[in-house]
């Protein structure tokens, strides 16, 4: 399977806990994006990686959210001290490059529920 994969597909946690969401982009894609989709809304940009570095993290809502991509491939979105308002579907997308026009390929998402 050459698509973007995300794990877990579903995550239920309690308020205040720490969670990690993983994204495996398409091999060779240098650009990786995280989006968050709340109920009834479209995907909302969180952070963009070009290679290993976070080129734009302006969409992260606060300092409880952090993402890494240490080897320029797999990325992990980390959420500390989760709140009920963090409940959403977290989508990962990759593209050949963030420096050229083109589509982004989305994974199926991780549905996070904070109780």
């Amino acid at each position: 399977g050459a698509g973007v994969s995300q794990t877990p597909s579903n995550k239920v946690t309690e308020k205040g806990k720490y969670v990690e969401l993983r994204c495996d982009p398409i091999s060779g894609h240098t650009a990786l994006y995280w989006y968050r989709q709340s109920l009834g809304q479209g995907p909302e940009f969180l952070i963009y990686f070009q290679g290993t570095g976070a080129a734009d993290d302006s969409g992260l809502p606060n300092d409880r959210f952090f993402a890494v991509r240490p080897e320029g491939s797999v990325s992990t979105l980390k959420i500390q001290r989760t709140e009920r308002g963090d409940s959403a579907v977290y989508l990962c997308a990759s593209s050949v490059s963030g420096r050229a026009r083109g589509e982004q390929f989305f994974g199926p998402g991780t549905r996070l529920t904070v109780l």
């Binding site: 479209g42 734009d56 026009r101």
Partner: protein
């Protein structure tokens, strides 16, 4: 502040007829636009795109029209098929120096009635 708007949350169309989905944007820096299709429990799937240097792009049954002066784009599907039933998202980006991040509308749920 919603920079990309889809004002119709839902649309029903008879099979074989034309479906027209609309999208408006506010940011004049947007220069690349896309439509994505989403089925439940799946990620959005790319459908068609258009650059701001064009006013029309066609791919099979799908045509996207861009009216820059009105900051409006539309997706035409003709003829509509039951398999087209999904949520359609309009997206826009504002230049490569922003990393090509997409701004999405809230989506329009299309139902094609057999």
């Amino acid at each position: 502040d919603q920079q990309v708007k889809q004002n119709s949350p839902s649309l029903s169309v008879q099979e074989g007829r034309i479906s027209i989905l609309n999208c408006d944007y506010t940011n004049s820096m947007f220069d690349y636009f896309l439509w994505y299709k989403k089925y439940p429990a799946e990620g959005p799937t790319f459908l068609i795109s258009i650059s701001s240097i064009k006013d029309k792009n066609e791919d099979g049954r799908f045509t996207v029209f861009l009216n820059k002066s009105a900051k409006h784009l539309s997706l035409h599907i003709v003829p509509s098929q039951p398999g087209d039933s999904a949520v359609y998202f309009c997206a826009a980006s504002a230049g490569l120096n922003t990393g090509n991040q997409f701004y999405f509308g809230t989506g329009t749920s299309l139902t094609v009635i057999p």
